[in-house]
């Protein structure tokens, strides 16, 4: 790595970009003028934001009590709401103006008002023609809300015990399709509520009763947060998001220009023919992109804060934008932290953008390639601004999100949190940054990427190619495609599946998931994408005894695995609702017609389906990884990932490791199926056959019953469990040794010879 070359390339790219008017405008000028323009637009629209006056009709105003007034000079009484609301609502009552059409009165009178305690909802007017009539009249008279006082309001004067329960009804007639009507109705409703409280108070005073009888207590919210901290909290969500978003978008244009643009203009080949190595070129270009990414972000931040500062100051006093007073002035002391956190993330964005843009042959293509990057990174950014996401160990390992949460904590002044999680966040960010750079360098080292010819793409042609080039066993990509397919099918099935009501339904669901989501993708892909489905799925018969050995291993290993399962449950206790679901499902299983049915559904079917797909197709593909064992580990991770419940996933991962080992060593799927089937079967048998652990059972030296809060559980005697695990280990070692004895798969050695002349030096 010659840093001098990197420096030269960096310098040249910077000068080159600075001479490009379009880049200069979008990256440097636009941020500076965008926010003042937006601010001025905001100020201009703010003056139009005064709502036009609402009109409320009160019908039956004469029935309102005189003691506590509701309306005064064509407005509601000022003490019932804030000034702006009162001023905004014009009240027309029939006692003042005779503008109500007789039909309206008649129409309303026809609706028999039923005394109701639920005045929150406008009375259901069942007759739709009446509704239509009302709607058109409200529209014609520009009335937003009609308050219909149907009954005399006031304390009932009669001593009739029947009427003691009856209360008068006030109806709000609203056209909820119109926003203004709906908003006015809400205001009027609140206003009427306040008025009713005053009325109650007056009634109590009149009758010499303590007011506390009606209102035993008042609710007074007190915010312990000081307004500056509240403002910091608002900014802490906005600033990291703005900074990261602009850093990403700022990286786009230069990345396209520096890569696809150079290809397009034909200068890339000139550069590549110079002594500078690909890594030097990539780092130089990446640094350039980073300068623009960071510059764009900081300029946007600066410009936004400057404009925001003045706009908020200006609007803070004005009434219509009350919400903004919560925002306050942006915290200036946060800026250095933001810039510091931005740097590694911007480096990652730049490397990613460069790597992706290197696929493109023209600037136009470059845009297509970068949209997916935006799609992938946006959710990560949004995640951090969700109120439920907090900086903790789990989230600190999420790239981008972790850094944004760290910045958020920093702006909020939550320094203890910052210190605690700074190292995982930084480690994750730097690791991702390093990976991105590696990828970008790899892209620049790839001839297919840099010198891509424009071959046309046709679906038929592609299919032909896939069929022609298919290997004996699936490729890495095909294995991963299989996992993705399984996950997607499982996702949609999980949406379609409801809580089963009977054993049959439950069994059917398991069959459907196993066959449709797991077996079919694996088998279909093995049949279509590989030339030898038999070798892919490891269908060859193993040496005698291996199947039995695998089944025996499963029995012997069961105590150790069940202990492990309990440790997992202890470390990660399942959520309460999950436990509830499990109890329901357990009850369904108890209703099964017989143990054979349960074994078929939970042991035989999953063992066959999952083994064929995971240890068959997927492991055959992932085996091609650098180390075969990393293929086993990856297969197990995927196997765990397809289990919905986390605790199950952990166990599936562990079992997956053992199954992968057996699959590679025996080169056959049957021992895996035997192990899997036996393992699942043990769980069922032990939970169903509690009598095995009873004192008179011959198994007392192995099994014992433990009393738990939720019932009894069968456990293994520790000594017996240790012995069994030891025996299982010996068996596994024996199975492992079989590799040399079992017939080597000659099929793997058959490779197609290239049809051109024999290579002298293979590269």
């Amino acid at each position: 790595m010659n840093w001098k070359n990197t420096k030269f390339i960096f310098q040249r790219e910077i000068i080159d970009q600075m001479r490009d008017r379009r880049t200069l405008f979008t990256i440097l000028v636009l941020p500076l003028i965008l926010y003042p323009l937006l601010g001025s637009a905001l100020l201009h629209t703010a003056q139009f934001m005064h709502r036009s006056q609402s009109i409320v009709w009160i019908i039956g105003a004469n029935k309102l009590p005189k003691t506590v007034p509701l309306v005064e000079n064509g407005r509601f009484v000022s003490s019932l709401a804030d000034f702006a609301t009162i001023e905004n609502i014009k009240v027309v009552s029939d006692s003042q103006e005779e503008i109500f059409a007789n039909e309206l009165r008649k129409s309303l009178a026809r609706l028999e008002p039923v005394p109701s305690r639920h005045e929150q909802h406008a009375r259901a007017i069942s007759n739709s023609s009446e509704k239509q009539w009302l709607q058109s009249h409200m529209q014609a008279n520009q009335v937003d809300v009609i308050v219909w006082v149907a009954d005399e309001i006031g304390p009932s004067q009669t001593d009739d015990p029947q009427s003691i329960d009856q209360i008068a009804s006030v109806q709000l007639i609203v056209n909820s399709a119109r926003d203004k009507s709906r908003m006015t109705a809400l205001e009027v409703q609140k206003l009427l509520g306040n008025w009713r409280a005053k009325l109650i108070e007056d009634n109590f005073v009149q009758n010499d009763l303590p007011f506390a009888l009606a209102f035993p207590f008042a609710i007074d919210p007190i915010d312990v947060v000081d307004s500056t901290i509240q403002q910091a909290a608002t900014w802490s969500k906005i600033l990291p998001l703005i900074v990261m978003l602009w850093a990403l978008t700022g990286a786009f244009y230069p990345a396209i220009d520096l890569c696809a643009g150079e290809k397009e203009r034909g200068t890339l080949e000139t550069l590549l023919s110079s002594p500078a190595t690909r890594a030097e070129i990539v780092i130089g270009k990446m640094m350039t992109i980073m300068v623009f990414s960071v510059g764009n972000s900081i300029l946007n931040l600066f410009s936004m804060m400057l404009t925001g500062f003045f706009v908020i100051q200006h609007l803070g006093s004005a009434s219509p934008m009350n919400g903004l007073s919560m925002v306050g002035a942006p915290p200036l002391n946060a800026i250095p932290w933001i810039v510091l956190g931005l740097l590694p993330v911007a480096a990652m964005f730049s490397a990613l953008a460069l790597a992706l843009a290197s696929f493109a042959r023209s600037s136009k293509e470059g845009q297509y390639y970068l949209i997916p990057l935006l799609m992938c990174l946006l959710p990560l950014m949004m995640l951090s601004s969700m109120p439920t996401t907090n900086l903790e160990l789990g989230t600190s390992f999420i790239p981008v999100t972790g850094m944004m949460l760290l910045l958020r904590s920093m702006i909020e002044g939550n320094y203890s949190n910052v210190v605690q999680y700074a190292s995982p966040v930084l480690a994750t960010t730097l690791f991702c940054c390093w990976l991105s750079i590696r990828w970008a360098v790899a892209q620049f080292n790839s001839e297919n990427v840099l010198f891509r010819s424009s071959d046309q793409f046709g679906f038929g042609l592609w299919l032909k190619q896939v069929m022609r080039d298919r290997d004996l066993k699936p490729s890495l990509g095909q294995a991963i495609l299989c996992v993705v397919t399984i996950l997607i099918i499982k996702f949609f099935l999980s949406l379609a599946v409801t809580m089963p009501q009977s054993w049959h339904e439950f069994a059917k669901q398991i069959w459907v998931v196993q066959i449709a989501a797991i077996a079919i993708p694996g088998l279909l892909m093995a049949a279509i994408l590989t030339r030898c489905a038999k070798a892919t799925l490891r269908l060859n018969t193993p040496r005698a005894g291996l199947i039995a050995a695998a089944a025996l291993t499963a029995i012997l290993l069961y105590p150790a695995l069940s202990y492990l399962g309990q440790i997992v449950l202890h470390l990660y206790p399942p959520r309460a609702e999950l436990q509830k679901v499990e109890t329901v499902l357990a009850a369904l299983i108890d209703n099964a017609p017989g143990i054979l049915a349960v074994l078929l559904v939970f042991s035989v079917v999953p063992a066959i389906c999952e083994e064929l797909t995971f240890r068959g197709f997927i492991l055959s593909g992932l085996e091609k990884l650098r180390g075969r064992w990393s293929g086993v580990i990856l297969t197990s991770i995927f196997f765990g990932a397809t289990h919905a419940v986390f605790q199950q996933s952990v166990m599936a991962f562990v079992v997956g490791l053992i199954l992968g080992f057996i699959a590679l060593r025996t080169a056959s799927i049957w021992p895996c199926i035997a192990f899997h089937m036996t393992h699942n079967g043990m769980t069922i048998i032990l939970s169903r056959m509690k009598h095995l652990a009873a004192s008179d059972s011959p198994f007392t030296w192995v099994l014992r019953e433990t009393e738990l809060a939720s019932g009894t559980r069968i456990e293994f005697e520790p000594l017996a469990a240790c012995g069994m695990t030891l025996a299982a280990t010996v068996l596994l070692i024996w199975i492992g040794k079989q590799k040399e004895l079992s017939n080597p798969t000659p099929i793997e050695q058959v490779e197609l010879q290239p049809h051109f002349s024999t290579p002298i030096q293979s590269t």
């Binding site: 030269f8 034909g266 080949e269 000139t270 110079s274 071959d455």
Partner: protein
């Protein structure tokens, strides 16, 4: 000097599986000599020259430039080589002077020597007008001059010209050819690819006729004309290519 032995370059092709762009190409180019690579469009000339300049890696075969292997010592190869191709454009937003200086720096030349060398080059090629003109505003001929100056700023022993005169007018093309001849006279090893017979006839000491990824014939122009009993180079070329066209196709060819 350049040694190419059994060079093969194959690509994955969606239509035909493996597609062999360069098939068992063997040749040598010596110092003080212009080696002409003659072939129709899509013969595989550019692919061979891209491999020589380490932009592409060979599928198999050995290529050494000035004693360095193009795969193992790619950087050393690039340091001792100047590459001018139709695909090696110059930067639009840099002046001629900046362009040449940038590459001089990448070749690791000390600033003082670089400045002297550039003055000399700009004077020799009458590039005064290019000096402070942005690449985007130059004529094709000026651009090609800058390209050549860029390729020879570090005074490499090996120079590769891939269709260096394409798109140039007669005057500019003539200037390029004169430059190539001058470099030969300085003792450089030069590979010159073209499909223009008159150019090849004028400057090349030694030619290889390429078609469909293979070299059909190599030798001096005179020697080849006599060997194949033809009147001139153009007839010879036509004869060789049409003879080859009548043979069955081994691998699908046709890459620029």
């Amino acid at each position: 000097m350049i040694h190419v032995r059994q060079l093969v370059k194959a690509y994955e092709d969606p239509a035909a599986g493996k597609f062999v762009a360069v098939d068992s190409v063997t040749f040598d180019a010596l110092p003080g000599q212009i080696f002409g690579l003659l072939g129709p469009n899509g013969a595989g000339k550019t692919t061979v020259l891209r491999i020589l300049s380490t932009l592409l890696k060979p599928t198999s075969g050995l290529v050494s430039v000035n004693g360095y292997d193009t795969v193992a010592d790619a950087e050393d190869v690039r340091r001792h080589l100047g590459f001018v191709s139709t695909n090696t454009a110059i930067y639009d937003r840099m002046t001629g002077w900046e362009m040449v200086r940038h590459f001089g720096r990448l070749y690791g030349m000390p600033e003082r020597i670089l400045a002297e060398r550039m003055e000399e080059l700009f004077e020799r090629f009458h590039m005064g007008r290019c000096r402070n003109l942005l690449g985007g505003k130059m004529s094709t001929g000026m651009k090609q001059k800058v390209s050549i100056a860029r390729a020879m700023v570090h005074d490499p022993p090996v120079l590769i010209f891939d269709e260096a005169t394409s798109g140039l007018d007669i005057l500019a093309a003539r200037e390029v050819l004169d430059t190539v001849q001058m470099l030969r006279d300085q003792g450089k090893c030069i590979v010159f690819s073209s499909h223009i017979m008159s150019e090849v006839k004028r400057i090349c000491d030694y030619v290889a006729v390429m078609h469909r990824g293979r070299i059909l014939a190599t030798g001096t122009i005179q020697g080849l004309i006599e060997q194949y009993n033809q009147n001139d180079l153009e007839e010879l070329f036509y004869q060789l290519v049409s003879m080859d066209n009548s043979k069955p196709v081994l691998g699908k060819t046709g890459i620029a």
